[in-house]
Symmetry: C2
Subunit: 150 residues, 2 copies
Amino acid sequence: MSDYLEAWDRRLRSAGFRITPQRQLVLEAVTHLQHATPEEILAEVQGTAAGVNLSTVYRTLEVLEQVGLVTHAHIGHGAPTYHVVDEIPHIHLVCSRCRAVESIEGTNFEKFANGLEKLNGFVVNISHVALHGLCKKCADDSQNVKEYVI
Amino acid sequence: MSDYLEAWDRRLRSAGFRITPQRQLVLEAVTHLQHATPEEILAEVQGTAAGVNLSTVYRTLEVLEQVGLVTHAHIGHGAPTYHVVDEIPHIHLVCSRCRAVESIEGTNFEKFANGLEKLNGFVVNISHVALHGLCKKCADDSQNVKEYVI
DNA sequence: GTATATGCAAAGGGTTTGCACGGTT
DNA sequence: AACCGTGCAAACCCTTTGCATATAC
């Protein structure tokens, strides 16, 4: 098993951050919800500790992101969604028509990313990737429809 | 040469939209500025027609996007940037540390995207792609620094 | 003439910030 | 005891919306 979650407190401490109930709860919420917006995380956290504030959630997510425990991706046009950093990175496929979000294993993308790194020097943060387009179903539906999709 | 811009008025008309000075000016601004936020587009447009309103820019960009004349990508955490749809799609590389944005030819990415389509059926909108990570310079700088970058 | 597009102003969502208090180290 | 983290409220940025007027067709 990975040491990502086991070492969460050490991760924070070694970066000079303190351990607080809020930070623990936010990390647990992100872990449990899988992909969640700050608001959703707040709701989850408030199930346990009603007094926690939205701004604390934002500040906490920033800290957890800095120490590498969570990442976020922009899957809608609205709020970003946060998820824990895991061993097998995944990428997000967001359908512009039906708004469905798929997570797929990042392996093939990683190959592209490695090529890019060799060629260009740019190192992609794979967990942050959200690709927009049409899911299979919506792409099939639009076979005969001339339309431009965002 | 492409018929993208030559046919701009026909594009609009055939989709049932009207031709207005505002729509022409916004399209020209996007073309000229290459990558610009709605605010920047407004500023450019107001150089010619001072009375144009921000909400018109938003509504116009939506229309131009619907008919396939422009697209947008989310390169910062702030406002999206719009650019004209061109023959050779490009993707955006956004450095999480120095915030620099590179545009690179989408050819290699297209290969990945084609594979994804065969495997999964998902059709990626290439122009919309913004990859976050570290540019060469920042990646080199952080070789010896243990740090997690968003 | 009729429907669409625009300008204006207000409201809305999401996020950040200043400050005083409370908690961790 | 010192400093960091939190709650609260206000401010901020970006975007959308309702409505009356103007304009393209």
